[in-house]
Point group: C2
Chain length 168, copies 2
Amino acid sequence: MKLQEAKQQFISSWGAFGTHWGINRTMAQIHALLLISPDPLTQDDIMEDLNISRGNTNMNIRELINWGLVERVILPGERKEYFTAEKDIWKVVKQIVKERKKRELEPMMQLLDKLEDVEGDKKDKKVKTFVDTVSSIKRLGLQADKTLDVMIKAEENWFVSNLMKIFK
Amino acid sequence: MKLQEAKQQFISSWGAFGTHWGINRTMAQIHALLLISPDPLTQDDIMEDLNISRGNTNMNIRELINWGLVERVILPGERKEYFTAEKDIWKVVKQIVKERKKRELEPMMQLLDKLEDVEGDKKDKKVKTFVDTVSSIKRLGLQADKTLDVMIKAEENWFVSNLMKIFK
DNA sequence: ATATATTTTCAATATTTTTTGAAAGTTCGA
DNA sequence: TCGAACTTTCAAAAAATATTGAAAATATAT
């Protein structure tokens, strides 16, 4: 397979992949493009390569920057802004985990706290099932939270060598 | 907070949560409703409770069954079908992980295998960056795959007590 | 067998999400 | 300070996704 074709496939399937994870197609595609670009790219480069509008490009680059996955680069003597993606995939994964934890897991845990002390007779089957469900989700959520914290701090090597040994 | 209100909040935020994970709102809501229902429910119960159409209810229950999260229950002497969700959250999580691994991770790995041996001069910076990116994603993917396999087999207790100790 | 209850399908519709592109805003060199 | 280069915004349009509801299919009781 030629590089050009491989590149297309990579970008397109990374985009499709993203949509299964609540990330929009374009954002994932821009990320993919930057991941495989040896040098920083401008908005115009990205627009042209992915065939998308200026506005769309701009918004999604901005969003990638918010996620901490892309950085603005100023090249000396150049007027345009350049963009580059973190290439270390382990760092990328950790960054995504960190953001999603903050954006999704933590608010969910706060809600569960409130829901756990619903009024009503604990002998009422409906109340009991509700509280049990909420509590067990909370319990698992807390574990996940702690596990992810450790993961976020870990080095890839640590993850690979130690965790893999433990996991038989 | 009264049960009724807590229930609404739980269902609605479980639905919103789902949309961040590529699951449609209704499917997640039906799942939430069944999770907190002590007894199995019929399609009509679900339609009424969530205020959604018959067709929508039917399709999403079907999808939940495909995901292995909901089961059809036949109550003796009853004409209608009843539905119930697995209540053990750890089992639920494992089931979701198992399905997503099969549906998303595995096809992605297959693609990366193909893309990794792109033609071209490895000294070409573009080719090199592409191959390096693909390879490192593949490497991490393989680790994730193995880790998830172990997790799928694990008991919650095992997960909690052992993993937590290791993770300091 | 027939009538009735129940489930399933799917074209049409509604809703949500994404994308566009032109105008407004900003930056920077001369 | 001006004007060109570049970036950002956002209302409108397009595209993607979800939902409805009525008709068709299926199952069950009599």
